[in-house]
Amino acid sequence: MMEVLNNLAFGFSHALTWQNLMFCAIGCTVGTLVGLLPGLGPLATISLLLPLTYSIPTQGALIMLAGIYYGAQYGDSVSAITMKIPHASSIVACIDGYQMTLKGKTGLALFTAGVSSFIGGTVAIVVLAFFAPMLGEVAFLFGPADYCALMLVGFVCVSFVTTGSLLNGMAMCLIGVLLGQIGTDVTSGMQRFTMNMDFLADGVGLVSIALGCFGIAEITKNLDNRDERTPFNGKINLIPTWPEFKRIIPSALRGSAVGSFLGILPGGGPVIAQFAAYAIDKKVSKYKHEIGSGAIEGVAGQAAADEAAARTSFIPLMAIGIPENAVMALMMAAFIVKGIQPGPNMIAQHPDLFWGLVASMWVGNCFLLILNVPLVRYWLSVFKIPYAVLFPSILFFCCIGTFSVNNNLDDIYTTAVFGFIGYMFLRLDLDAAPLMLGFILGPMLEENFRRALLIGRGNFMVFLNRPISGTLLGVIAIFIVWQIASYFMKSRRPGAQPGPQPDPVPLG
């Protein structure tokens, strides 16, 4: 207990330097802005700004990127509440939040979301401070086979959570893994899939893939849709009454607990945490009959869960070294670019970085509370920018971002190619987020897989004999069987012909 407090104090001494405060403030502001704007998610923003952080000191860069991530979660809920513009991470906020706006209680909803997010964030940081070092010690027990199994669990969970279809998600993960194979094989030094092109020897650039699939493809999707938005013009009265304020607290605490827990699990993160928190509030809240028609609880619980999960999802990355969702995969890339390998050794080797980041999350929490509660009305003017102005600017950022990774204009062609592929994915209803995870974990997966087989002398039992990997693979097998069973149940019910039999995916 004392140790954690000491460490936190140490972290704050790093987070509260002028420089890091500034990076935190920039990150939070940019994150909120991006959360508000249509068509750019945290994934796109982090990949846009990743190259720009190369010249910033390590700690500042990570603090800023983290700020962008949880700032974007905050900003998302604002646009969801005022205009019912759902982003990937604020679908739930549209339900009760927008209902409250229709009732003329926008201010109350925004206040609730802001305060609950603050509570959620604070709870999550406590969880992070206690739990990450503990989990880090568990991670030392992991062998290559266990890492493989854990990554596969991550793939399955992310596929299912982000796309809702295990098949589509897994396909994208595998495409990501294959893209990660392009370049020089670390073990044998052989060049693979380079088509004799020199610039591919180092592999495809992460930023090119991310910007192509999330930046360019998103712009084009929005241009195809051509939806005009009407800016919000209502009145905002932010100060709640005391009874209203009292209703926020229990629901926000419930949401924080749910969010903190779901944030840690593989495949978890803000999206699933919100739905869970909302469902729990609907079951246990004192005002459950009001939820769905604009209740405070419907906003508070999910906002807290959202923020909490955004922060606790850093735990698996920093403690085990395995990112659990696509955003964390990009954060991992940022760590690696800075020469830091996230994993069990990180906390011991770079305590200033780890505790500084944890402390900065709370500082960022305070920034976001100020940005999103008293200043929220100024943010809403962002929506008056027409898309015709916005998209050339995003395009410009994509170009500069791609260029500045290697100071090479040819990388822009790679981005263009992935922009086209990303657009194809979009039209084929394939979500690119699992691809990102596969791309970053692919090389790690291969290395551990080969190492595990080397240890097991080519025998696949090495994956089943170890307790950790055996359990994890068992979980995957049960999950796949359940998926197949539910597919057949669904197709049998309306009396249709039974579908084709998807074979259980052979593991390993």
Binding site: N168, T220, L430
Partner: protein, 140 residues
Amino acid sequence: MNDRNLARGLFLIAISLLFGLQAVRYPIGTFSRAGAGLFPLMVSSLLLLIGVITLVRSRFETHVPITFNPKNIAIILASLCGFAVISAHVNMIAGIVFMVFFSSIAASSRSWVRSLKISAGLVAMAFAFQKLLGLNLPLY
């Protein structure tokens, strides 16, 4: 056949073959001593399997038409490539101006004045990146 599920299956199969057929040519090795080709081969076979399942399943499901609008994506990609070409041969300011004007064809409304203003703003931002963040941009 305009069916999104079918197209998806074909697309996945194509990608798996693209990687898988190349992987066969690399040394496969044995399981205890894996060669460079083993892992990509396994991953692409798995992808092939998923592609085939998707393809077969699409026969039993309701068809969803695929919507594809080649105009916007072509404009965006062309303005990206134009930016790269012009920045390489002339300079980046010209590249930015070209990109803004060319991509504005895809916008719902067009205005020369607005494009000019955006270009000016972005050029100013590029200068700020160069001076403040120390990015090495070949602006002029």
